[in-house]
Subunit: 129 residues, 2 copies
Amino acid sequence: MSLSDQDQQSGPPRPIHQIKAEFFRVLGHPARVRILELLRDHESTVGELQAALEIDSSGTSQHLAAMRRQGLLESRRAGTNVHYRVRDPRIFKLLEVALQIISSHFAEAQDVLLDKEADTPAMSRKARG
Amino acid sequence: MSLSDQDQQSGPPRPIHQIKAEFFRVLGHPARVRILELLRDHESTVGELQAALEIDSSGTSQHLAAMRRQGLLESRRAGTNVHYRVRDPRIFKLLEVALQIISSHFAEAQDVLLDKEADTPAMSRKARG
DNA sequence: GCGTAATCTTAAAATCTTTTAAGATCTGCT
DNA sequence: AGCAGATCTTAAAAGATTTTAAGATTACGC
């Protein structure tokens, strides 16, 4: 290993947008979002996650590995089990903001659908201030 | 095409984790992250984005369409150009939190590389040379 | 050491996304 | 109407990710 690389492993210097994209991409799978939520307030073993997700050992391991590579998770071995936990709780803030954005988009979409029928000229379902 | 731009088709009820995953997945491409940042404080036309990104018309349109489908962007036509803008500024908060997480992960990784003995987490990055 | 449970790795097949290239549309102009 | 510029759509090829299935490791108790 070389001395002063700024990356984890010496590789081609990736542009910042690609690093961000890779970060988001690792969140782009339902099982992985689910794993993060299962790890919200305590660590869990692979077996526990596997049971909750209802996917097999291989799949679970691969999702966990992807998130560990990305720096989202870390693991600790205790006997024959491995416990995973999230590394940075700010990831939950991220999930929360995402949910807010998604929810309000849903709400707006619903307004559009409901407005088609409403005929009171000034307001629809959601009274504005 | 039918009525207006994007409606929520009544399809199979997708589980929430999948909706979240799809949301993150649309952020999982460098060009799309880049587009969002280009749209941070003003809208832009497709042509402007295309020039900044150095990708062709087709690619640009497709990325824009993906983000519009996801509800991230909206568009307005002015003559022969189409202007895009972000729909919900909270998306920038998301990008910001992501960057914080990524940065501190980088900082930690560097700590591990640079020092094994000193462990003041706040000052380690440029403390020794 | 051997057997067993837990986790990880690998490789091929299946699936999904991105790129590339060509053409279609839509708008304003003359 | 016909033309030109801007944007959008589509389809096929290339590339990446996910799933599936099988085998490899690792740690523990006997």
